[in-house]
Symmetry: C2
Subunit: 450 residues, 2 copies
């Protein structure tokens, strides 16, 4: 143990944590809560009428958990929605393709765009093209996601490909879906237009469709597509972060932040992304409450608005709470599916690492490995992390997550109760131990540099 | 051995069969042929322009195999096509559903049909309802396909549900897709309207959507749908069975029939149903030809038109060739995916069972079990079987076939070269041994009764 260690949990507290873990592991409520969200609300595209339906549902839901406080905080963002989308190969062989507009894409003309494709292996290959190389063409980024760990790299083609392609003269962008599956269900996701670059329409096709284009290209003939996207944008929409608090006994103004994002993409019902994260954390808090556990510090459950289109909820939370960074005992968002949790990382001051090890000791029987001290707390809480909040990462098994991510297939039938229960148990232990900790975890300017 | 056994293959012939099997097993041409069909033609809905494109492609393809004769025989049928299809839950919770019109379904009114659903477990439960029980409702047949063997039973709800529902007063039919998967890709397939029953629109939803409806129904509230189908029918279309022949030496007027159906449903590219069957059998014949094997009898490769909408190609073949039943040495169609072949069944006169056992001996190292003597030769050849043709069944492993069957997911990426090679080897052995057989297999009136 490091010499600076100044506090640890008592034997009695450790027993409470073990008991909480074991009870949560047998509790199916996170799963049932997720069933309710995906059935009673369904798809929750930010900026749609379903966004506000979801907010109202979430407020009533949190109230039903008997939290001490439930409130909403406004989040503003523009509206984007898909109206229609279709694509086909015109030549050398006619085929219909399964495509989806990328979030924030502009429309094509109503009569569509008909042009030859130019295949590039990935975003780097696109950037390396000479000026004008894609003049009049539809750039096709064919970057295949082989495993979850490559997501950030492969998704850069989705988020930044259109502007890069436009700078090379392209009239549209199509990408191979950023997904690990082989089904005819394209994966959507957000994209951004760089200031100054021409705006061109952008869509993703399913992996089997990308395979088909490759087979045509291997014949050495030009491949010509007809791409038709109709989307709609509008400037102002107000939604809400939905927040509930279970107040602490000794230090109620300090709090542990857990939660997920309430918005989803529109093709599926956001069961895994991120209904699961919301309900794993809600179920964890519910376990504490039903066992009558009131830790020293408060626990806040946050369902963020509009993570998908640019972390808008996370940024709004930070703006509204930037004076409270030092009062955030710990932050950890669940946004990588249903679990199980495989590793616990922290980012705390060194003096608190003994506490982290005690957490890891309680979580070890769940199959949770001990990680390092450079945790990231997830997308919406990333802003707080960057501002110096002590952070935890409960890394989840994600080998099938990107099979379903951002597709019509992200539905409740993919959820396995045992995986959700383990994740709920891990979050319950984390939340209670972080809130009950004898030590502050060090949020503030010092941690910001670490 | 039965006392009536009058002929067996010579040792030399058996060696040829072993060699053919081993060479075919290392030959990837069936796979490559299937790549060509699915890439260069794609979806092949009977009655569409793609139907005729496929026929032209198939004629050129068979010519490239250096067969002795290639010809087309006309097949007439009406046109049916889908124009648009959508459905949503209106209440208690709004959701978009993933649905597909069933083949031959009429349209809904343009403004759709809005009505409450009445769930029934299966077709039998629908039939058992009292008169008028479904008055004004959309009947929802919720029969789940759990394994391939149940296909015939479960598919009866698809083919016959609409007329049964209409007789109980229903305004439309929706069914749980007849598929073993859990993806948001509905399974289409043909349906029939009974004479005298009112015609109502009919569609299938994906399995996850059917699960969703069940979760809503479990809440005890009425579930109301909005169903919109636009389809089109036209009376007369002429397509073709495409036939190629490799002529025999001693008995060229007797022939072994192998093949598959060339048409497919429109959402996918008919890779497994039934591009695989066409190309497994084409590849098998191609192996024979390239090895310079000319058996005693001829081998005919038939790519049937429009199996999907009522065995139209099979019926036309029978009509055109009904005087030749006794000259069909053996018939076996491949129409259950990519294999591997797991069992060889026959329906031959008892005197020929020794030959069948020799076939089974050659196929045993491929993992092909010996079956019985009540084989069915597949859908299009079923009419010939019923007319007394000696028949063989090369049963294929089908545990994943109904994951993809009749969906957008029936695409080339699902095909595994090793499975296709094994199936090709089994068909090559079967075709050559049947055509080379020292005995006639007994097609004719006597076999008809067996
Ligand atoms: Zn997410
Ligand atoms: Zn997401
Ligand atoms: Zn078929
Ligand atoms: Zn079929």
């Amino acid at each position: 143990a490091p010499p600076s260690l100044r506090g640890l949990f008592t034997t009695e507290e450790m027993q409470t944590a073990h008991k909480l873990r074991d009870l949560a592991l047998r509790d199916n409520r996170s799963y049932e809560m997720l069933e309710r969200l995906t059935t009673e609300v369904g798809a929750r595209l930010a900026g749609s009428e379903a966004d506000l339906r979801a907010v109202n549902w979430a407020v009533a839901f949190m109230q039903s958990l008997k939290l001490d406080k439930v409130w909403k905080e406004p989040v503003q963002y523009p509206v984007w929605e898909r109206i229609s989308e279709s694509a086909s190969v015109i030549s050398p062989f006619p085929h219909k393709l399964q495509i989806t507009a990328l979030g924030h894409s502009i429309s094509t003309p109503e009569q569509g765009i008909q042009a030859e494709i130019l295949r590039v292996a990935d975003l780097a290959a696109l950037k390396a093209l000479p000026a004008g190389a894609a003049q009049g063409k539809i750039v096709f980024i064919d970057h295949k996601l082989r495993k979850s760990a490559e997501y950030g790299d492969v998704a850069s083609g989705r988020s930044r490909g259109a502007s890069e392609a436009a700078r090379k003269g392209a009239v549209a962008l199509v990408i191979r879906s950023v997904g690990t599956d082989s089904h005819r269900l394209p994966h959507t996701g957000v994209m951004h237009y760089d200031d100054g670059a021409p705006q061109i329409p952008a869509a993703a096709m399913s992996n089997p469709d990308a395979d088909l284009l490759n087979r045509m290209l291997q014949r050495g003939q030009p491949v010509k597509l007809d791409l038709r996207l109709q989307t709609r944008s509008a400037p102002d929409f107000t939604s809400y972060n939905v927040i509930g608090e279970w107040s602490g006994t000794e230090l109620p103004d300090e709090y542990v932040l857990i939660g997920g994002h309430l918005d989803s993409w529109d093709p599926g019902t956001g069961a895994l992304d991120d209904g699961a994260g919301c309900m794993i954390t809600a179920g964890a808090l519910d376990c504490l409450i039903r066992q009558g556990l009131r830790p020293r510090r408060s626990i806040r459950l946050v369902f963020y608005a509009n993570e998908e289109q640019g972390l808008l909820g996370g940024k709004a939370y930070h703006t509204a709470h930037q004076q409270e960074i030092s009062r955030i005992q710990a932050a950890s968002e669940a946004d990588s599916g249903q679990g199980p949790v495989k590793r616990l990382d922290s980012r705390v001051r060194p003096e608190a690492l003994g506490i982290v090890r005690q957490m890891q000791e309680v979580l070890a029987p769940l199959g949770v490995a001990a990680g390092g001290n450079q945790a990231h707390p997830g997308p919406d809480m990333g802003v707080l992390h960057d501002a110096g909040a002590a952070s935890f990462g409960l890394s989840m098994q994600a080998d099938d997550y990107f099979d379903y991510h951002h597709t019509a297939d992200d539905t409740f039938d993919k959820v396995e109760p045992a995986r959700i229960r383990q994740s709920c148990a891990a979050y319950a232990v984390f939340a209670w131990m972080a809130a009950q900790s004898p030590l502050h975890f060090g949020s503030g300017p010092a941690l910001k540099k670490s």
